[in-house]
Amino acid sequence: MGKQKRLNSYNRWGYAFVLPFTVVFLIFSVYPVLRTLHLSFTDLKVMGKAHWIGLANYSRVIHDKFFWRALWNTIRIWSVNIVLQLGLAFLLMMVFSDVKYKMKGLGFFRVVYYFPNLIAATSVAFLFKTLLDWRYGSFNIIISNITKLFGASYQPIDWIGNGNVVPYVIAVIQSWMWFGNSFIMLMAGVQGIPRDYYEAAAIDGAGRWTVFGRITLPLLRPIMMYVAITSLIGGLQMFDLPFLTVLPSANAYGRVQTVMMYLYRFGFTAGSINTGYASAVAYMLFLIILAVSLIQLYLFRDKDARSEKSQRRPKQKATSEGR
């Protein structure tokens, strides 16, 4: 009895430990999210009074072709990026998990490949904007030198200014920034596969491709899904790189404007501020992200159910719930 009482008095300390977090969390996280929701039903412009206008902002978002254009731009940049990023990470993973060659230097290459991911997107955007400048940029100068070597002539490509080219340029830069990250995650998955499976396969005399196709690949599928989905959720919020690569006054801007850039325009750009509308855009984007997350949950469940059915396959490791 006495002990229970003392334990309770200890447990009361839990409140004290969680209190600072909770206060700041309520003020700076919970309130802003609810406030944005509230504002999305109002006609608040910059300042002044907000009037309740119901779903008018949402209906405007749905009917605005520029919003859908922005969503399409975002998805296009992301899709090209994920194919390159995951493809490259996958090839690297194949190389480093090969049972026959046993490649060395994983630690070194992992660090080097991850390096571009550390640099602020602002710096990366600025660096490539300067490197890819069609007149003065080093990139075009290199290409022109190479073509001269072969006696051909090179019409400099306007990498940043051409609206047909720049979305793909941004996608390539994005994948250059992120392939190391995906590679590390895939390798973590490979290293999580129990050694016994490989030893058993070696005893059975399985070749490298059989090992790869029957052990590595199926066990990695959940992690690859996880990488792709988290990348999609992040990619839908893409802002820094396209925003800083292409100036709003440039012709190509319409081809790279992402949903976040669209939101920024109505939320924070002097002259076109419509706070209520921007809030509705934020919640529309949230709904899209939510849908993506639900699809992710569904796909994971499906996978688990299927792997339980086929008894012959090694049981899947619980990978990435939550987060």
């Binding site: 550390l118 300067t130 987060r323």
Partner: protein, 284 residues
């Protein structure tokens, strides 16, 4: 028979060589733009636009003088430190405190707080952006560092990670022993729990620092006075300085300076960074 094995051996060796070559090429591709950046920051604008070179020249000081006519780079570094360091320390300390509280104390609100953390880990940051800005306007926090530092106290992702970490590394008997010895709860946390959690705290802390240092959207929205700008915001203002773009050397130098601190952090802590990404993939 003998010949065949010899053949396949040379074949393997050749393949391995090719693979290492390809890996090396990719490594160069990861570094080359940064190398070019460093080289170009030592060349004049005219030299850069006329020809391509991988050999540094001696115009670094000139470029720097040119650059600080447009932006006060030392000020930017100072401001970035002023924001990133306190924010990281707050995240590290309070996340550990909260994680410990949630992991080892039974109280009614425990499940509610933990549930809220799980929900907010799923909610993308952009959802709160407009409400956050409105709040800062109302509280007269625009153009101060408070909105960039204080919210760091509540970092749901870090708390989640450290809670799992605490559950797997801290033994309940240790806490009980401290209580029998009459140690105050807060003392136990500071002297016993915090050191045990420190590898996990370091891992999350480094990622938090890099995130804070590189953060662009929020500082850009909150800060509108030039002398308050953090480094990324400052670098981004260069894009509208068109006459500076004539001198690409200075531009490259600005980017180079903004990259250096992160390179230093990375070269010391790369092991922690890699392990935190791996943990994210496997534990989820």
């Amino acid at each position: 028979m003998q010949d065949q094995t010899m053949d396949s051996k040379t074949h393997d060796r050749l393949m391995k060589g090719l693979l290492y070559f390809a890996l090396g090429l990719l490594a160069v591709a990861s570094f080359f733009p940064f190398y070019l950046m460093i080289i170009n920051s030592t060349r004049t604008g005219v030299e850069i636009s006329r020809s391509f070179s991988v050999i540094p020249r001696g115009h670094l000081v000139e470029n720097y003088k040119q650059l600080i006519k447009y932006v006060d780079i030392p000020r930017g570094i100072f401001n970035s430190i002023l924001v990133s360091v306190p924010a990281t320390l707050l995240t590290a300390y309070f996340s550990a405190l909260t994680a410990y509280g949630l992991a080892f104390y039974k109280f009614k609100a425990n499940k509610v707080v933990f549930g809220a953390i799980l929900v907010f880990m799923m909610i993308p940051g952009q959802l709160s952006l407009i409400g956050f800005y409105q709040l800062c306007t109302k509280l007269h926090l625009v153009n101060t560092y408070i909105p960039l530092i204080v919210p760091a106290v509540a970092s749901p992702g870090t708390v989640f990670f450290l809670r799992q970490y605490a559950l797997s590394t801290v033994q309940t008997t240790l806490i009980e022993a401290a209580r029998i010895d009459g140690a105050p709860e807060l003392y136990t946390f500071h002297r016993i729990i915090f050191p045990i959690l420190s590898p996990g705290i370091a891992t999350m802390g480094i990622m938090t620092f890099i995130g804070n240092w590189n953060s662009y959207l929020l500082p850009m929205i909150i800060l509108n006075k030039t002398d308050k700008f953090t480094l990324p915001v400052m670098v981004s203002t260069l894009r509208s300085a068109t006459d500076l773009q004539q001198n690409q050397g200075a531009t490259y130098l600005a980017v180079a300076i903004s990259v250096i601190p992160i390179v230093l952090v990375f070269s010391f802590f790369s092991r922690y960074i890699i392990s935190s990404i791996s943990a994210g993939a496997v534990k989820g």
